[in-house]
Amino acid sequence: MTGFTSFVKKETLHILRDPRTMLIALLMPVVQILLFGFAISTEVNNINVAVVVPHWSESVRQSVEKLSSNPYITYQGAIEQGEIDQYMRSGKCDAVVVFSNDFDKVLSEWKQNGTGENAMQFVMDASNTNLAQLGSGYLTNILAVDQMSSDMMPEIHMLFNPQMKSSFNFVPGIMGMIFILICGILTSVSIVREKETGTMDVLLVSPVRPLRIILAKMIPYFALSCINLTSILLLAHYVLEVPMSGNLGAIIVISLVYIALALALGLLVSTIAKKQVVALLISAAIMLMPIVFLSGIIFPVENMPDVIKPISAIIPARWYIDAMRKLMIQGIGFVGVLKDFIILCVMTIAIIGIALKNFKDKI
């Protein structure tokens, strides 16, 4: 076993002596979590709204008052009907609320009959679709709700994430990405580096079995990932206040399976690539890009076209992120993520199998 332990020591020294690797491996997860947690958010909290009021009345004044006092809205004043287009184009407002000519009359009709003409109209700048959708939702809630009969309007409960914090959503996504980055990319580059510099030949003529060489390489990266898992979970819980209400054991077990999968992916890439640059490119193309676009971090899988959905199903990160979301945010138990867990296990075994076969063929 002395051969094996000297290998693990060597790999650990490689990592410890390379400040860049250390920086990427230990600092990046923390920075990403904090960045996505605080700086980048998909919440909309500063909508510029103007109003068009043909005829001021008490109820119109009340509505406008509500608008201007709402923290999510920046009130831009009253404008003329003809000015809407110009205001929108110049970017001075994202939404315009147009009150009907006889607002009071329409309102009382609604109250009596529960039906009637439109009391107001929202004109939205839909060049930013996210903002337009959320904005119109806000405006409906602020203006329309109590003007209409209460039994007509649905009462909405936001379960699991009542404040709709986007950071909750990002934490599982970042985890899905970080482990691929550290285990997958760094391991593949480190194996390919030995091929490139010629040291791999020296190792292969030694009596140490090729499999041991690879295993020894993975151990320090596995350890690094465990450190990262700990720091991410702590940060997410104590700084970003992600609930983590699910089974913590399940979070850890599934993460470990995912880390193993990422290591196997790294090995697979290293059997294909001959140069470090190539390893990096392949990793980015087959690992990172699909994770960002297809795993549901940013774009929900449910919204994908039917052609794309099956592709997203073969991306391991999708199942991992799904499981983490359920466990961390929804707080359901292990049984609820059993499907994700089994899929991840099968994928891990398959990738390890292919990678090892490829690895043996090449040597």
Partner: protein, 253 residues
């Protein structure tokens, strides 16, 4: 030929009709030769002649398509793994880790070949003293000059006292003085009964070998002592012998 370890004590390498094919390309074409224990054997040939492929087969890195042979008494077709613990190897490309210190490199390779910790320390200290290197034991290899690195790589390749050391163009890119020193190390090892199997580009180095073989287009075209070869080809130097033989080559650069 059988695979008993004691088949032939005076020949450390024996190969017969060793062949390696990649698809329809025959990189090594039925080569037959033997190397005596303690000998310095020069394995020469132009680029692309098949030297490296042949050497990889002898080291157990590549599996022969056909043929037979033994290295250190083990069958290259069946006992590749056993061969590995009896040989040392130093590659043409620098083979130590730049981000490890001199001692850490020695400990790593010593550990790989299962030399005990104390024994590694003893041998390493002895070697470094011989090389007048003792003060550099904790220096990162990356900060050493190339010539020193290569001498060190040779020291590391022989740390586990292998019966035979394969050197793949060990002196590439090194100045003449360092090359001279490197060859002194080779002679030293040879005098301690370690067999040296060396490939090189430098024909003056071929003169230092006990025996040399010349490979052209995957085949061994000439084999003998430098003096014999020069007589046979009526040449004044190994360089001339090489050029006479390589003239008919189809491969190469």
């Amino acid at each position: 030929m059988n695979d008993n370890k004691t088949t032939n004590i005076s020949h450390i390498i024996q190969v017969k009709d060793l062949t390696k094919q990649f698809g329809s390309f025959t990189a090594v074409d039925h080569i037959t030769f033997d190397v005596k224990r303690g000998e310095i054997f020069g394995f020469l040939g132009a680029n692309g002649a098949g030297k490296t492929t042949a050497m990889r087969m002898l080291c157990g890195l590549s599996f022969p398509t056909s043929g037979s042979g033994t290295v250190a008494g083990f069958d290259i077709m069946r006992q590749g793994e056993k061969i590995k613990s009896h040989i040392g190897y130093m590659s043409q490309r620098f083979a130590l880790y730049d981000d490890l210190t001199v001692m850490e490199n020695m400990q790593l390779f010593g550990g790989i070949y299962r030399v005990g910790k104390k024994e590694i320390d003893r041998r390493a200290t002895e070697m470094l003293q011989k090389l007048k290197f003792a003060s550099e034991r904790n220096t990162l290899v990356g900060s050493l000059p190339l010539g020193w690195k290569q001498k060190l790589a040779f020291a590391v390749a022989t740390l586990h006292r292998p019966e035979i050391v394969f050197l793949d163009e060990p002196t590439g890119g090194v100045d003449p003085i360092t090359r001279r020193q490197f060859w002194e190390m080779i002679y030293q090892a040879s005098s301690e009964n370690t067999t040296i199997f060396v490939t090189t580009h430098y024909m003056d180095e071929a003169e230092y070998c006990h025996r040399v073989s010349m490979m052209v287009d995957g085949q061994i075209k000439a084999l003998g002592t430098p003096t014999e070869l020069k007589q046979q080809y009526n040449a004044s130097s190994m360089d001339e012998v090489f050029r006479t033989l390589a003239r008919g080559a189809k491969r190469g650069d």
